[in-house]
Amino acid sequence: MTHSMAQFMRRCPFRLRPRVLAAALGGALAIAGSALAADPDLPGFIHDGTLTVCTNPTLPPMTFVNGTDVNAVDGIDMDIAHRLAEYWHVPMVVTTMDFTGLFPSLAAQRCSMVASGIIKLPDREKNFDAVSYQDTALVVVARAGTPPLSSMTDLSGKTVAVQSGTSYSARLAKENEALAQAGRAPIIIQQYPTEDQVVQQVLIGRVFAFASQDVELYYRQEQLHGKVNVILVPPYPEYRHFALYIRKNAHDRELLEQAIATMGQNGQMAAIQKKWAISPDAAKALAHTPPAPMFRWDTFFSALTSTAFMRGAFITLAVAVLSHFTAIMISIPMALALNGRDSLLKMVLKGYVSVFRGAPTLLQLLFIWNALPQFLPVFREAWFTPFLATWLSLSINESAYQVEINRAALGAVDKGQELAGDALAMSRRQVYRHVIFPQALRIALPPTINEFISLLKTTSLASVISLQELLAVTQIQVARTFEFTEYYAAALVYYLGMVFFFLFLQKRVERRFAWADRHKATANES
């Protein structure tokens, strides 16, 4: 371990070379020009005078949540983004989201730029412009004590974990082609949505190694307590630079390159690099700290009582309640129409129900968040928050299920009840309001509460569109600390607490419908 770690430190030290060589010449002229003007020329990606930065804050030290406030994103990328905003004299807004959502959001014009510790790769540059700001190297990491490998082909037949959406899997696939030609077993690639899960697979021994960047691993040494070591630094020419991504625009790219070059010249870049740099000696010392206990109760309890978790739970509850309420409101007239006479409306509604029951909820969320803005530009504006998007898609989705409950409940009310209401001269509205709905409600309530409980858990899917609900909060905390068990346990306690509360409510509510049960009604009487 110490040998390979030292080798790693030597070969890819946490040393940051300002990337100024190429940009310096072109930049110098521009800087001279802009020195005359009051403001540097504003790039086109700065919408409405704001620099909106999209990031997936799970890649320390580039971008991560460095505390319990999930909205406070920290890291090298954020520092650079701040300097850029200052440079252009505009305010900066950070939008956090799932890694896989970053590029679709950039395409949907929801962000000015993506700053998320992303490698500069020719493949990505086909669709977006990239400006590099930070040197790095790809490393293959395994559990402490694993002997170093001499080349990538040594990974043949072994399992390697990578973060999905990153380019590592494509690079490993290329490696596999070579292995196949040599008649050797391929590398088995497992993809995980977050970097922390990738590391966790190695820690628990499920996979042999993971691919990462030296910069990140260096930072992680503190948390990993010497549990991993670098076994290989493949001599790839790519994976050398972290880059900021913007929508394709040659002029904008030039302006961004100028800005980065200026930061390199005026020492801002060096300051950022110094701030986040940890000396190899410190890392070595940390590597010898005793291993952490199995379960840290203090972490667990402080997570339970943290405002971050309470906020997350509140958002989970709020989006579930609002979505279900809206779904019920939509589904009542829908159920009445579906129980009524055949019509065009009825056919349309049937189609609606089949589509939204048929499609996976996750797909619907992603569609509304990422695809809808392509058709309707209003949905890419700032007012369309992840909360609204979740509310919208879960309402629609849930209404397709709720309508079946409503239909069954309305159908289960004896037809004679409506006749009796009619015969007593009551109007249509009065019959529904006072006779049919109260009875349908009793029939619909237990399955509706079941639906709600299921919806409460479904909200966790919204973490992929960056809603800061309970599971997203949990994952961010885990990414920061690697204390999986403690944070997962805290989330579990919150979810179970909420679900048990609603199950209890269900029991209480059922008891209120004494009229439906002779024994209960008699018991109430006495």
Binding site: A423, V435, A516
Partner: protein, 254 residues
């Protein structure tokens, strides 16, 4: 006794029908029915199963709209333009299976429609409901739910509920179907009571003793037609049609 089908409806009659027909698709449920019912009269409708008895009385409050002919209630011709609220407040109907509102107490069953339709204040509606519940001998059950009552008790609640709208006509669809002889005599007493209050009653039944006891006139139906309209004494001793004779023979042999 039978009015001329071509004549105009009798405006002084409580119910007056001329050539009334009702179709279900191409099935003729009521076939050119004509008769008059005077105020305060007690009519019993007899006939084999499927002869159209329920359909007939349901036409009177337009729960089943008729397809042709003239129906006049209290001097007003009833058609698609009629004020149904007014009609149904005038014509009360007690269903064969009662159709009480299970989610409401006996008292609320009785007060719901007066409060909603006639905007009667709650206290007043409840006082009236208690009066009718007393009249049908069920006042002590006012706070129970329908599910806690026996069939005969539910039946009486259904009658009280209809009476709370203070109708001038009461339609009963087999009020005695699920009752024991003692309960039947209770219903007889109630109907006599109603007649004394000047309420017109039409009652469908299969109970011959009950029919003989209560009816001023018997309407005998078969296959959607009225075959006879006669006082009970005559109908039970000397029916005019062979069909009625067969019907009575069958009833007696069971």
């Amino acid at each position: 006794m039978n009015p001329d089908p071509k004549s105009m409806p009798d405006p002084s009659a409580m119910i007056s029908v001329r050539n009334l027909s009702k179709l279900y698709k191409d099935f003729i449920a009521l076939d050119r029915i004509s008769f008059d019912v005077q105020r305060g009269e007690k009519i019993v409708v007899l006939g084999p199963s499927g002869s159209g008895k329920s359909t007939l009385i349901r036409c009177f409050n337009r729960i089943e709209p008729h397809d042709s002919g003239i129906l006049s209630i209290d001097g007003q011709v009833i058609n698609a333009q009629s004020d149904l609220t007014q009609l149904r407040a005038t014509v009360g109907l007690v269903f064969q299976n009662y159709n009480l509102f299970p989610h409401l107490s006996v008292l609320d069953n009785c007060t719901l429609a007066p409060r909603l339709v006639k905007k009667t204040p709650r206290a007043e509606a409840e006082a009236m409901a208690m009066r009718f519940l007393k009249q049908v001998n069920i006042a002590e059950q006012a706070n129970k739910y329908p599910i806690q009552l026996s069939g005969g008790q539910q039946q009486r609640v259904a009658i009280a509920r209809a009476l709370c709208m203070q109708p001038e006509v009461m339609l009963f669809d087999e009020p005695t179907a699920a009752l024991d002889p003692e309960a039947i005599s209770g219903v007889v007493a109630i109907m006599n009571d109603l007649a004394q209050q000047g309420i017109t009653t039409l009652c469908v039944t299969h109970e011959m003793g009950f029919a003989r006891h209560i009816a001023d006139r018997i309407i005998f139906m078969d296959k959607g037609r009225i075959l006879e309209i006669t006082p009970p004494a005559e109908f039970f001793t000397n029916p005019k049609t062979q069909r009625a004779r067969d019907f009575l023979d069958q009833m007696i042999s069971y």
